[in-house]
Symmetry: C2
Subunit: 212 residues, 2 copies
DNA sequence: CCATGCAGTTAACAACTGTTCTCTGGAATT
DNA sequence: AATTCCAGAGAACAGTTGTTAACTGCATGG
């Protein structure tokens, strides 16, 4: 059950969210390591010192953004890789879900792609952790599939990492298509869909013949 | 033939190289978008204004770093994917070459991984271009292989991109292993080798059965 | 109802940034 | 030998940064 928090705490959460949103917007054109705290507070319309009530530093804010961007994604992952329907349909469904997610949360996707190898160690670490969790969940889902009979745990995790990387790469391509000029968008999006579909299909083939 | 350039031009190239080296070193702990020109000149021991004799901005310097990091890599790519020896041996050879490259030029690898999706558009563009060239070269090399008989150009390029992404991902993992504490290095490196080997092998299997 | 807590403000700090203009010494050209 | 060129130096600029301290006003808990 949800405890209705006082008008005080509510207001605090509101400015906190405003700081996160402003930061995310500013990060579309730069990296976290160059994001200044004054820049963020200015965008929100709040005094620079107010920042410290919510975050120790911009790196700290970055870690919070990782939670926001990836924390809520776990249920989606599960259904994406779930072993229902024929393989070809599952691939199409997964890619469609990725496309929708990029469409709905482009700034989050950009942030993760950018900061995964970015210049701020704690943020890299947080992303690494979340992606490792994703890989574990994908592994668990793959294990349910009859195709995985006879696979070692290690090999399942290997494949799961391959899938996670592939998803991120695809998401990044969708994002680039989204960023381009409006009249090219449809073409580029369908091109990415087609590319990603065939790559997924090829990996699926490798999976089927792994135990040969 | 090489024209021996005067002592004037030589000195200029020397400071230019010093600026690039200093920048690369500074970029181990931050992103290009937060790299200041004064920071770089200070590290070299040269006046801030001297920077302008070589680069218009730090973004410009970043593009030059992309050339330095990836420009000289094309001959290596060719031999890496060359279709000699049995498949298993080729995989091992490719991964070994990646490991050696990361060992020899860790800062370059880190720079590319970091700025590929980084906050500086011209640099992203430059990396995208170079990687596209790599993919084209890999495609050409794959086409020579008898296994590729009957493949469409599009499908070959699709696979080439998959290989290029996989190489970069592997390089990044080797780098992380290299950055960790010395006593874990050997274990982590061999773990990455083993993981990458199996992923490459699985992709290879998918490749063999593509036309089924 | 009153005392406490605490989100956000104001003001000030030393340090730093990119960029401009002017100057200098020595290599390059004639 | 005289002249031009130009990589780098030096000084100054307005603007920015993170962090500190002391404050204010209002929601909260006793």
């Amino acid at each position: 059950m949800s405890h209705t928090l006082g008008i005080r705490q509510a207001q605090k959460q509101k400015t906190r969210k405003a700081l996160l949103d402003a930061a995310l917007a500013l990060l579309e054109e730069q990296s976290l390591s160059s994001l200044g705290l004054r820049e963020v507070t200015r965008a929100v319309g709040v005094a620079p010192t107010a920042f410290y009530r919510h975050f120790r530093s911009t790196a700290d804010l970055g870690v919070a953004l990782v939670e926001e961007a990836l924390g809520s994604l776990h249920p989606m992952i599960r259904t994406t890789v779930s072993a229902t329907g024929d393989p070809e349909e599952r691939v199409a469904r997964a890619i469609d879900l990725i496309a929708r997610h990029v469409d709905g949360y482009p700034a989050h996707v950009r942030f993760i792609a950018r900061e995964r190898h970015g210049g701020v160690q704690p943020v890299r670490e947080a992303i690494r952790e979340q992606l490792a969790r994703f890989a574990q969940e994908v592994r668990a889902e793959l294990a349910k599939d009859p195709v995985s009979r006879g696979w070692s745990e290690d090999d399942l995790l290997m494949l799961a990492h391959l899938y996670v990387d592939q998803m991120l790469s695809t998401a990044s391509l969708f994002l680039e298509a989204l960023e381009g000029p409006e009249e090219e968008r449809a073409d580029r999006t369908s091109h990415v869909t087609q590319l990603a579909t065939r790559q997924m299909r090829l990996i699926g083939l490798g999976r089927q013949h792994w135990l040969d």
